[in-house]
Symmetry: C2
Subunit: 223 residues, 2 copies
DNA sequence: TTTTTAAAGATTACACATTATTTTAATGCA
DNA sequence: TGCATTAAAATAATGTGTAATCTTTAAAAA
C-alpha cells in the first residue's frame, strides 16, 4: 500500500520531500506509474493515506508542470511519453545546456570539479541503475547554481521526463563506456575554463544520448 | 465583484476559457493582481462565485506553471516579477525564439505572411494597449504551429510574464516606431525564406525589447 | 517601546452530495 | 453463436460545507 513512501526519492531533482506531490512525481519518474496511466484520486488518496482534495491539488500542480494531463470530467493521467516527446525534450535540453553550462565553465569552483571527479569514479563500477543516478547528479551539479533559476527548473523538469522514459530500460555497456569518456572530457575542459571546448563536448554528449534513445525507442516500435 | 469575468481574456495566449484558472491567469497577465499580491482563496471563491477547492486547484496549477508561489500554511501569492525575473525571461525567450523561428521561416505559408502584414498595418495606428496585443498576436503566429509544442508552451508562459510586467506601463512612441520597423524587416526576411537574416533581426528585436524594459525597470528602481 | 495575549482571518483536510463517465450486463439482430 | 446496440450499475470527478490548525492582526499589559 505505502510502498512508494519508503522507496527513495529521485534525488536531487525532486526538491520537495514528504509531500503527496513529491511521491507522485517520484512514482512517475521511476515509472511506477507509466505513460498514459490513469491517476485516480480516490486510489491515490488511499495509497498515500490522505483524502481526495490534497491528491487533486498535487495532480493539478503536476499538470501545470507537464507531468500529468487532465481531461475535464474524466480525470488525470500520466502524460504521454512517446517518440515525439523524446525529440521535444532533447531539443529543449540542447537549447538549455549550452546556456547553463557557459556560466558554469566560468564560475564553477575547484570543489565542484573534485565532486565531479568523485562521481566519475563511482560510475566506473556502477550498475546501470546506479549509473543513471550518478549521471543525473553529475549534470545537476553543473546547472543547479545558475543565476537563472527559471531555466534551471526547466532543465530539471525535462530531465525528469527523460528519467521517466528511461527507467525501465537497461543501458548497454558500450554506451556507458562512451558516456563516461565524454564526462571525462567535460571535466578536462572545465579545468582549462575553455567555454568553446566544453560546449562542443556537451553538444556531442547530448546528441549521442539523444541518438541512443531515439534508436532504442524506434527499434521498440514505440511510435 | 465579477468584473474580471467580463473583461476580455488575453487572447490568444490563454487557450482555456471560462475556467477559474483562466480568469486568475488573465487577471495576473493584465496586472489586475500585481506581483506579490496575496491570492486569498476565500476571496477568490467569492469573486468567481465558486467554492474554495476549485480555486485552490487553479492556484496549484498556476503554481506549477510558475505564475503563483505558494508558502505552506501561508497561502498563495502572485509570483514576484522583479528585475531578475525580466532578465531570466528575456534570456529564455532568446533561446527559444531562434529555435522556433527557424522552423517558421521554412514552413510558414503565404497566408501567414499576409496575416502578419495585416497586423502590421493595424499597428501603425494603434494605441499602446492595442499595440501590445497586436505585437503578441504577431509573434504568436510565428510560434504556435511549431512541432515542439512543449517549447511553444514555454514561450507562451514566458511571454505572459512579460505581459504581466508590462501591462501597467505605457510604451513610448519612438520605441513603437522602432519596433514596427523591426517587424517589417522580419516579414521581408520571411518572404525570401532566409533563415539567417530573420534570426539576426529577431535577435536584435528581442535584444532591443529587453534593453528597453531593463532600462525602464532600472530607472523606476524596481530592483 | 516592547512583549504578551487575545481575537479574527485563512489555510488545510475531510466527508458528503451531485453529476458525469466508465464499465458491465442485457437485449436484439444477423 | 457472434456482434453491435442499448440499458443499468458501478465507479470516479466535481463542487460544497465544515471543523481543526495555523497565521496574521490588533489590543492590552509590562
Amino acid at each position: 500500500m505505502l510502498e512508494s513512501k519508503e522507496s527513495p526519492l529521485v534525488s536531487p531533482l525532486i526538491s520537495e520531500k514528504s509531500t503527496i506531490y513529491a511521491y507522485i512525481l517520484n512514482d512517475i519518474a521511476n515509472a511506477v506509474f507509466h505513460s498514459g496511466d490513469r491517476l485516480i484520486s480516490t486510489k491515490l488518496a488511499e495509497k498515500y493515506q490522505t483524502s481526495i482534495n490534497p491528491v487533486r491539488e498535487a495532480l493539478k500542480q503536476l499538470q501545470g508542470e507537464g507531468f500529468v494531463t487532465v481531461e475535464p470530467n474524466s480525470g488525470a493521467r500520466v502524460a504521454l511519453f512517446e517518440y515525439n516527446t523524446l525529440r521535444d525534450v532533447f531539443e529543449i535540453l540542447q537549447l538549455l545546456e549550452p546556456y547553463l553550462m557557459t556560466w558554469f565553465v566560468e564560475e564553477h569552483t575547484d570543489e565542484d570539479r573534485l565532486e565531479m571527479g568523485r562521481l566519475l569514479n563511482e560510475m566506473e563500477t556502477a550498475t546501470d541503475k546506479e549509473y543513471r543516478s550518478l549521471d543525473t547528479q553529475f549534470h545537476w551539479l553543473t546547472v543547479k547554481n545558475h543565476y537563472n533559476q527559471k531555466a534551471v527548473d526547466l532543465w530539471r523538469r525535462n530531465r525528469l521526463i527523460l528519467l521517466a522514459m528511461q527507467s525501465n530500460v537497461r543501458l548497454n555497456t558500450s554506451r556507458i563506456k562512451q558516456s563516461i569518456e565524454e564526462h571525462k572530457r567535460i571535466i578536462c575542459g572545465l579545468e582549462n575554463r575553455d567555454v568553446k571546448v566544453v560546449l562542443d563536448i556537451m553538444n556531442e554528449h547530448i546528441g549521442n544520448s539523444g541518438k541512443y534513445w531515439t534508436k532504442y525507442l524506434l527499434s521498440n516500435k514505440m511510435r
